[in-house]
Structure formats: C-alpha cells, structure tokens
Amino acid sequence: MSFENFGVVSFTTETKASDFLGYLEKGKVMATRCRRCGTNYFPPRMDCPKCVGSDVEWFEIKGNGRLVTYTVVNYGPTGFEEDAPYTLGIADFDGVRVFGRLSKGLKESDIKPGMGVKVLPAKLPGGRIGYEFQKV
C-alpha cells in the first residue's frame, strides 16, 4: 500500500513516512517521535528539525482525544465534488493534534468542539484508505 491510495484524492506519493499506510492497513493510526529529543510528530515525519536528526520511532495514537474544531464542507474542490458534504476536523490526543475527517454517519447537530473522539482507519471507495474521527 502506498500513498497513491491515501485519502479521497492523492496528489503525490513519495515520502519516507510511507509505513504510515501499512500501519493503517493493520488498523493503526500512527505518529512519530524523535528518539533523541522526544518531540512528537503528526503528520508523522522521519526527520526531526528540532535536533536535526533522523532517529525517529513510530507510536500509535490510541485512546480518546478531544475535538478542537470542525467544519462541514458543502463544496469540495476538484475530485471531491461527489464526496461533499463531508466534515473536517482537528482533534487533540494528549497534545498530538491530528487533522482529518469525522465519520460520515455523524450529523452536524451531534458534533461539538470539546467532545470525545477516537481516530480509526477508514476504508474509502475504490480500494482507498484514510482515517476518521468517531464520537465516543
């Protein structure tokens, strides 16, 4: 699995962090942490600009986070026309902030900043894969 299949539309495929997709397939949403200075990264990255090194390890974003904000997008850009409306949001998992989609099943009236969410891989049409926030 490569980044060609990540999200609804992918724009580029090559990154040293492509193991992210393999973890997604196995049901895990992962971030990285610098082994030297302990800085956490999401989106995951294999390089640490803080200590200018590349000694990082993967860790899973587990448990409940808190939804920081969201928006229901009614007009998607090219490639997303059929997909709208969809809901984008940012959630905080113990200081690791993740941007992504909220589960399609959630109505706007059910969504409130501050509510508890978890983040899980999500199968998308056409054999694609992403992740989504689910209300807990």
Partner: protein
C-alpha cells in the same frame, strides 16, 4: 541609513473578469501610482512583481510586466507569499532601499483569476494544503478559516450574527468604492440567509476571486521629499509564518503569524495598537477580520466582537477598519490585494480618502495574510 517612504500608490478596478492582459492590468495600477510624481519610469531602479504563480498562465511574469511598464533593463524579480505577496514585495523593496542598493523601487502585484476556469481554480484550491497529509481529505481555504471560526465560537461564544455584522459594514463601504467588485449593500438577513459554503461560513462571509493589479512606488527619504508633497513613511514592518498543516497550529482562535508580525511591526515603529488611526485588515472571510481585531491588539482575545457590536470599526468609530469595503467587497486578486490595502491607507494618511476619510489620520496599519494564516505581514505607515 535613509528612511524609506511610499511616494505613489495605484490599483486597477477589481472585477470578476477584467477582459485585458496582465500587462494592461498592471499598467492601470502603475498609471495611478505614477500620477503627480516628479519621476519617470527611467528613475525606477528595480521592480518587484508579486502574484500567486499557480493562478498565472504566464510563466515568469516579472519578465512580461517589467517589459510592459518599460522598466527594463533594470532588475526585476518575482516574490510570492500567496495572498500577502505584495506586502512581502514591499518588505523586500524597503530592504533594497535601506541597504543602499536602489533608491526607487516599484512593487507591482497582480492576479488574473479569470484566466482559469472555475474547475481549474478549484483544482488549484485543492492543493493549497499539505498535499501529502491534508489535501487528500478535501481541505479548502474556506474550510481552514471555518475551523478557526468554529473554534472561536466554541471558546468565546462568538455568533454567526456577529460575523455577519462585519460583512454588513464592509458591504456598506464597498458600495461606495468605485474600484470594488461588489458594490451592493447587504443586510444582516441577506448574509445570514445565504447558503452555507463550509459551516459556519456562508456565501457572504467569504470574499470572491477577482482580477486586479496594484502598484506601490517606494523611495529613499531624500528622493521621496523631492518627488512628492506628501511622502508616507514606512515605520514598521513585521513578517511571520505559521505551519502549513492545520494540525500544527497551536491556536485555532487567532493567527499566530499575525500576532507575531504585529508585535514586530509595533516594536519597530515604536507605537502600539492604541496609536493606530485607521487599519486595513485581511478580511478574506468575516472571521479573519474578527481575529485581526484581536491579533493586532485592537481588542483582547475573545473581545473583538465588542468592536463590531459597537460599530467601533466604522469610519466614525474608535478604530476604523476596512472602510474601503475590504476584500469582502473589493474582491481578492491574490497578488494585488496587499498593494490595494496599502493604497487605501496611503490615501487616508494623505487626507485624500474622500467620503471614507478618517479625520486627522496620521498612523495607519495594514494586515495582510497569505494562505490560511501561513504568512503574516503587518505594515505601519505614518504621515
């Protein structure tokens, strides 16, 4: 070292479809900027051309624009920070003069959004986020600002009606601006009843793409005093950035790049928010103007709504903001926008702003943001 002044400003009419070439569009702005100045194009030592390249059909537009304005064989080059490109151009021009390399510099911003079909524009829009990690989810510019709006509402109790009041104000002034794309007054009901683009932002909370150009002529102090009766001095320049990823933002209720740029600009100018007589802020969305009130220190965090509720940002209020209609009325030709904001403030400080003149304005501020709070520029000008 020499002080640096703005001696000339101009902008084209902003419109949905200009029907002319980018060279012709820039010429319209250049003509207004050169009006009444005791210099000719051969006195301009360099030109800085600003736009957002993904919307340009012309490759390397600096070559074409410098030829059309007959600024060859002097140096010309291109500067980009998306929507704040021409403020960044001003910053670079200032430093070229301050360093003594040049004495007079033209900063020309433009965008001809109508060169692209709406489908092509939507395709560009999809690549405005981090293309590996965020664009695959369908992030857009309005969606980015909408997430700030939702977070602001959640934290401070800001309402959709308060956001709409900003558009009411800006549409009121836009109606009187002969160079604005939208010249219709909008009521609170018009705005609140318009379709939801990306919740909580509705159609009239958003500015629209436009065609347009702007031009700023800057000069070293000795030349400035010679070529114009009313040089306007560049007192403070602040510039900062924030992450491209939305997940990297530490705050979602204010723009860190604007707060930092403002801090730098106030410090350099030796003034504070209380000293600003008139301001132009980057109201690409209503929430953006509200956050600007707070990020610039015109109000405390969470209290920007008091300014609009009390009509304090109208011409006769405590802190007039966007009294030319703002981006919401003028339209947003990306590379030209910062220059247009600067033009409005220059006209205010010269006392030549006509109906929207803020009486006795001496110190003005321009807040110009690129992307969803990625690039921030704050400029403080003084008569």
């Amino acid at each position: 070292m020499q002080d640096v002044a703005i001696v000339g400003v101009g902008q084209s009419i902003f419109s949905r479809k200009c029907g002319v070439s980018i060279g012709e569009l820039c010429f319209e702005a250049y003509t207004e900027a050169m009006e009444g100045l005791d210099i000719t194009n051969s006195d301009i030592d360099a030109s800085i051309i600003c736009s957002a390249p993904e919307y340009d059909k012309q490759r390397s537009p600096a070559g074409l624009i410098s030829e059309y304005l007959r600024l060859t064989p002097k140096p010309s080059f291109y500067i980009e920070t998306v929507c704040s490109s021409s403020s960044t151009g001003l910053r670079v021009g200032w430093s070229l003069i301050k360093a003594g390399l040049h004495r007079v510099v033209a900063v020309v911003g433009f965008q001809k959004m109508s060169d692209l079909t709406s489908r092509e524009a939507a395709e560009r829009m999809s690549r405005g986020g981090d293309i590996i990690w965020e664009s695959p989810f369908g992030i857009t510019m309005p969606a980015g600002y909408a997430m700030y709006a939702r977070a602001h509402m959640a934290k401070y109790g800001t309402t959709e009606e308060q956001l709409a009041k900003i558009r009411v104000k800006n549409s009121h002034y836009g109606a009187a601006n002969p160079k604005a794309t939208y010249r219709k007054e909008l009521s609170l009901d018009d705005i609140l009843g318009s379709e939801v683009i990306t919740s909580p932002l509705k159609k009239f909370d958003c500015c629209a793409n436009a065609d347009g150009a702007s031009c700023i002529i800057i000069a070293s102090g000795d030349i400035a005093k010679r070529v114009t009766n009313i040089p306007i001095w560049i007192m403070g320049l602040g510039a900062a950035t924030d992450t491209m990823t939305m997940s990297g933002r530490e705050s979602l209720t204010g723009l860190r790049c604007a707060q930092e740029a403002a801090r730098q600009a106030y410090e350099m100018a030796g003034v504070g928010p209380e000293d600003i007589d008139v301001a132009e802020v980057h109201d690409c969305f209503t929430i953006a103007e509200l956050m600007a009130y707070e990020d610039l220190g015109f109000a405390k965090a969470g209290e920007g709504t008091e300014l609009i509720d009390g009509k304090e940002t109208y011409v006769d209020g405590k802190k007039p903001v966007n009294v030319d209609g703002g981006l919401l009325s003028k339209g947003h030709p990306i590379g030209a926008t910062g220059g247009s904001q600067i033009r409005t403030i220059i006209n205010q400080l010269r006392g030549q702003a006509g109906e929207i003149q803020v009486q006795g304005a001496e110190i003005g501020l321009v807040h110009n943001i690129g992307g969803v709070g990625q690039y921030g520029n704050v400029t403080i000008l003084r008569r």
